[in-house]
Symmetry: C2
Subunit: 214 residues, 2 copies
Amino acid sequence: MSMVKVCAFSVSLDGFGAGSRQDIQNPLGVRGLELHDWFFNTVVFKKMHGLTGGSQGIDNDFAARSFDNVGAWILGRNMFGPIRGPWADDSWRGWWGEEPPYHVPVFVLTHYARPPLRMEGGTTFFFVTEGAEAALQEAKAAAHGQDVRIGGGVATIRHYLTAGDIDELHLAFSPVVLGEGEHLFTGIHLPNLGFKPVQTTAGEQATHVILQRC
Amino acid sequence: MSMVKVCAFSVSLDGFGAGSRQDIQNPLGVRGLELHDWFFNTVVFKKMHGLTGGSQGIDNDFAARSFDNVGAWILGRNMFGPIRGPWADDSWRGWWGEEPPYHVPVFVLTHYARPPLRMEGGTTFFFVTEGAEAALQEAKAAAHGQDVRIGGGVATIRHYLTAGDIDELHLAFSPVVLGEGEHLFTGIHLPNLGFKPVQTTAGEQATHVILQRC
């Protein structure tokens, strides 16, 4: 059964999935990077970025699992870049350089049309202007029976959660409090949406929780 | 150095410290008891209630630690009982029977005066009508150099947090989502109040986090 899933999504103890004041210097908002320390230290992350070393433990296992069986991604526009409003030109090609770590079709939610952007290593960015549900249908078709991973950000996950589209959430709670930023759950009633935690595992630098719709 | 502290306070993954709709059947609100499963299974809890058995591991260590060096407690009125408004009479003597598990002075925040209530085993309930800061001063004096433990509930902890009175918070994150209830942190900026997590430990049934004001 193919799933729509959120994987390895980092949150603070006080529930923030990103810091405040995102810009080109702070792609994840102020202090947002701290949420992901557990991931940055893994072999999986380092290898993805052409580096050696990294940790091999539980955090790394969850990082690896987050890329299993993913046939397509969906990203909110802010995950793709810091530009707001119309695309001035096609010079922005994502945060990740010429070979992004996706290697499958990636559907970017935006209000502004742009031709698909074919990158090295199998990633193609498609810019979807017909809304989140249209993007999900396109992603499911492109995934050819594999899973669709909702990459974020917070607003995008909140949208698909509330719409009842998500089957599984893997959250990584980092030992950090932010106090401000984008809150993942405010106003979202997970039990009413059918979710409950089915697994909790302490990693080296984060606590991994799997929630499923039952 | 004596501290003002919150210990073994259970919260859901989505940040609720109590369920909704507290009443005499649901002293912790609907589903609120689930937050405390980790505690109910410990030797410390069972012994406190005259029972044998229980788990001896990390959760139990944190339960035991939560009673160390406590010279006085402060409780919001809803922690003391389900009665709202004026006391009809003195028949309500707390949720805990004739020998409550405190064994020290306990200061209950209320708008309605009532004579102190001396229980078995060293617990005396004092009903403080002069406000939270007055209660804190009385509790510090009564603690004779030991720590003051703020027992809860959520509104009481939020008050003392915001006032800058709390030195240390030990939270037990339970693998539960509630979706509604009393949220511990909404609108509270822990970093601006000086808090950061200094320890995270996975217990058998909860993840224990210590936050300190630095």
